[in-house]
Structure formats: C-alpha cells, structure tokens
Amino acid sequence: MPLTLFWFFAIVMLVGGLAVVSLRNPVAAALAMVSSFVGLAGLFIGLNAYFVGVMQILVYAGAIMVLFLFIIMLLDLKTEEKQAPKVVPLVGGLGIVLAFTIQLFGILGKVPNKESTPIDYQAASEHYAPISKSVSERLADGQLPDVNLVGDVIFKGYNLPLQIVGVLLLVATVGVVVLSKRQTI
C-alpha cells in the first residue's frame, strides 16, 4: 500500500476515535465510531486482507453500529449534551492513555525495525496445487485470493472450534427469542 494511503486511513481512524470520546452528542459519537471503522477497514484492505476489511464494514459499521445508533436515538439522551466534563475521570483517562503510549514507545524502541518478508507466491502456489487448481493458478499469477485462503485455513484447520462458535451463537439467538417471548405470555 502506498504510504500516503496508509496515513490517510490511519488519520481517518484516529480522528474518528478521538471524536468518539470527545464529542458530547451521542449520535455524533456513534457516527465518528463508524468513520473510525471505515478507516480501519481501509487499513486492512491496504494489507491485502480484502475479506477482513469488507467484513469489518459489513458487520461492525453496517449492522452493529446501526443498532447502537438506534438505541441512542430512541433514548434521546439530552442530558448528556449539557453535562460539563468532570475533572477526575478526564485526568484518569488521559493518564491511562499517556501510560499506554509511553509503554508502546518503550516496546517499539527495543524492537528492531525489520523489513517484512515478501510472500513466496511460487511456494504457496505449489502448496495449493493439489488442493485447488484455481487458487494455485492465481497464486502463481501473483494475486492473493484471500477469501479462498481464509476459508481453507478455517474450515480445514479449525473446523471443531468453528462449529463450537456456531453453536454458541445459536444458543445466544435462541436465548434472545426465549427472553423476549417470556414477557408476552
């Protein structure tokens, strides 16, 4: 990814994140969160992880934040806007941010700045040759069919955890239905 695009999306994300905590209007804060997610998705796509980037928008920005926005709108939090910021939580929050930043720079200072190893497309293509012809061809062509690769790893390497997570989600869904039905009967 060109460096300019990296900075663009990083700044979008950081400004969005800052706006989430600093804006007084809850709806504006929720929208700032969405823009932060979009910036994050841009960063993922810049790393050639198209699938993760698109999922970031589809799931977080497109579904979860809409529900958040809704709850905020339905509650209509007028008091939030008029509240003056209190000193103690503000100082505490800034202190935590400062501590983490110092720690981050400490770690970054110790780790040498390594060049990332480029992907060995030829070896990857040979590895996928017996599994899938089209994936292998695309890898040999220098493309990264990340959806196929992610699917291959998840469904072959981590099939049981995936099924368990699926059952967990199903239980959660059934639980929601049971809880919301109980009130009417």
Partner: protein, 425 residues
C-alpha cells in the same frame, strides 16, 4: 508517466461508468416508471415535453413521446426552494441525503459493465475496481445506506419521518441476511467472488439460469448433469435474492418506510428540492445496482451466448477492439429489462403489512435460503460422494425441511378473519 496513464484510465472509468452510465439511468428509470405505470393504469402519462420550439418562436413543440420529461423534472427539483425546517438537527439533516446517495454510487465500482476493451493490444476491463470480494463489497457498502435514512428520520425532528427511518432500518437489516444467505450456493458453484470472473465463466459455460452451452450442457461434458441439477437451487436463490432486493431498495411491495397512506412521505417528508432529489436518486441508483447484481450473478452479465461473445471479441476498429462496447450494450439491455420488471411489480402488487414483511423475511426466506445452501452443497458434492452418501444426504435434507415446515405450521399464529390482527395481540 507510468503512474499517470493507469490513473487517467481509472478516472475515465469512474467518470464514464458512474456518471455517464449509472446516473443517467436514474432519469431514464423515472421516465419509464411514469410511462409504464400510465400504460398499466390505462392513462396517457407524460407525453408532452419534447423540444420546446414555441419558446424560440416556433408554431408547435415536438413532443418526442415526452422523452425530455426527466430533464424538466430535474430542472424543477434544482430550482425549487431549498427549505430547512426550524427545529431540525441541522448538521445531520444536511449529512443524511449525501449518506444515502454516496454508498449507492460507490457500489458501482465492482460491477463488470462489459467484456474487456483492447487498445493497442492492452486489455482494459470495463469495471472500475476488479476486486476479489465483489458481492461482499456491494453488501458491505450498501449496508451503509441505512445511516442516511436513519439520520434523515431522526434529524427531521418529526414523528412520521422517524417512524419511516425506524421501519427502513429494521427492514434493511433483516433482508440483508436473506440477501447474503441466498447467494451462498451460487458463490459455491462459481468458487469465486470476483464478478468479472463470474461473468467470464458464464459466458463460456452457460448462464446460471440457462445452462445450455459449454461445459454445463451434458452433451458437451460427457453426460454430467450437475449443472442441470444445480438449476433448482439456483432458481430458489434467484427468487429469494430478487425479492430481497425489492425490500432492500424500499421498492413496492415493500415500501413501508415511505408509504404515503400511513407516513406522509416517510423519512424524506421534511426534505425539499435537491436534498429530496438526492434521496430519490439514491433509491433509484440502488435499484439499478441491485438489478445489475442480479443480471451479473444469474443472467450472464454482458454475455449473449458463446457465438455472439466470440464474434464481438474479434471486432476491431483500427487497433481498438470494440467488443466491450457491444458487451456494454447487451448488459444495459438486460439491465433495462430488469428495471422494467421492477416497475411492473411496483404497479401490480399491493403493499405488504409490516408484520407480513417481517414474517416473509425472517420465517420464510431465512429458512428457505438456509435449506437451499445445503441443497446446493449436496448437488455440487454429489459426483464426489458416491451414491449411498448422496442418498443419505438427500433423505436428511428432506427430513430437516419437512420438520421445519411442521414447526412453522405449529407455531404459526392464525389471523383473525374479521379484524386481520394476530390472535395473541
């Protein structure tokens, strides 16, 4: 220079495809909608606006079947007073129309509009961004349209727009699930998420809904009926996907968010002039993109049978292969036929009630799409599995489907025949 030329090509594609193909389709759609609805209702429709010769001292206007009507509409919308009511939340009120139209236009970038053009031996694909996650990208970006509608409803500070916004969001989130689930068997069949490759595959091997040439016809591939068997899950996917697109774009019979009899105008009640026009354009652009996606996935995109595709790929003027433009024409023809179908449905089917809409989405389509995923997988895997396992799979699938139908029948709440209300409420 090396960077400049590809950039210029991309810019030309963006301007050409988004602003000269998709956006002009919006007024065309409006014209078709008005004329077609007039035909259906046995009226005349807008047939007067043509070349206004009387303005320049002529004796008579040339009506031209009213083709210029959309231009007059656009001028009217631009020149109207742009009124902002007093107690709206101004920033969000201004932001909302842009948030509605921008995602619709962004999704244009992954639609393959035609077969590749060749200029001096170099291939130029008629798609702005040849992403490997095409359909997912469209779903992701178009799911952001919800924000525009929600914000419009909320920031108008008025009851009816708010109810419209709430309805629209609930509807769009529900039908997004059906939309995503219904095309899973289709994507499994292609094994690819790149829309250009999908169309290419269909051009060689027969459209998904017309598997009559290339590899998918049994007389070409040594008696393999998989493609013909896959026709059944493909048709189910096609039906669910098309109807969900109707709901997703807030078209009749699912236009509950803006139904006039209940909500005045829905989420755009308080908007006027160009801001209203932007909602309008966003809605129609979403309809165009939805039709384009259906045509691309199920009806072969820009292809028109193998002999036509080969003939058009060989066409050249000088050193420029112009086959892509013919592909573009075929694609547009299919698109317009589909848009006419959208309009036909709008003026034929009465509006659903809101609980019926939710029932259709969550109880019928969701389950059918889920079963369809298994059906599609079974059809695709059957040649590799052997007859016994396939039969066991088919029996299991039939058992699960009938169990599901039974559960739905048992849990179904009957409507009171007199009031039309559900019994428990």
């Amino acid at each position: 220079m090396e960077i400049l030329i590809p950039l210029l090509i991309i810019l030309a594609k963006i301007v050409g495809l988004t602003f000269m193909v998709v956006l002009p389709l919006v007024p065309v759609c409006v014209y078709f909608e008005r004329r077609f609805s007039a035909v259906i209702q046995d009226r005349v429709g807008p047939n007067r606006v043509g070349i206004p010769l009387t303005l320049f001292g002529g004796k008579k206007d040339i009506p031209l079947f009213g083709i210029v009507q959309p231009v007059a509409d656009a001028v009217k919308l631009l020149l109207k007073e742009d009124f902002t009511p007093t107690n709206v939340r101004t920033a969000f009120y201004w932001l909302a129309p842009a948030l509605t139209i921008v995602p619709s236009l962004v999704t244009v970038c992954v639609i393959p509009f035609g077969s590749p053009l060749t200029v001096n031996g170099e291939e130029i694909k008629l798609v702005i961004a040849d992403l490997d996650v095409g359909p997912l990208f469209i779903f992701a970006v178009s799911s952001l349209t919800v924000y525009g509608i929600t914000l419009a409803g909320w920031s108008s500070n008025s009851k009816y727009p708010f109810i419209g916004g709430v309805r629209s969001t609930a509807q769009m989130i529900s039908y997004e699930i059906c939309l995503g689930l219904s095309i899973i068997p289709v994507l499994m069949w292609y094994g690819d998420l790149n829309l250009s490759n999908i169309v290419e595959h269909q051009s060689k091997n027969g459209w998904l809904l017309l598997p009559f040439w290339g590899e998918s016809a049994p007389w070409n591939n040594g008696g393999d009926y998989t493609a013909w068997l896959f026709w059944f899950p493909a048709v189910i996917a096609f039906l669910i996907f098309t109807i969900s697109i109707f709901a997703e774009t807030n078209r009749m019979p699912f236009d509950l968010p803006e139904c006039e009899t209940e909500l005045v105008g829905g989420y755009h009640t308080e908007y006027s002039s160009m801001k209203f026009a932007m909602f309008f354009m966003g809605e129609y652009a979403a309809m165009v993109i939805g039709s384009a996606l259906i045509v691309t996935l199920f009806l072969g995109g820009w292809s028109l049978g193998p002999s036509f595709d080969q003939w058009s790929a060989g066409l050249e003027i000088g050193s420029v292969g112009i086959g892509g433009l013919l592909g573009l024409a075929v694609f547009m023809a299919k698109l317009i036929v589909f848009i006419l179908f959208f309009i036909l449905v709008r003026w034929t089917v009465p509006r659903f009630r809101y609980d019926q809409l939710m029932r259709l989405g969550w109880i019928i389509f969701f389950e059918v799409a889920l079963i369809n995923v298994f059906l599609g997988a079974l059809v695709i895997a059957a040649p590799h599995l052997g007859i016994v396992i396939t039969l066991v799979g088919a029996v299991l699938l039939a058992a699960v489907s009938s169990a599901l139908i039974w559960v739905l029948k048992v849990s179904d709440k009957r409507e009171d025949p007199n009031t039309g209300l559900l019994a428990s409420n």
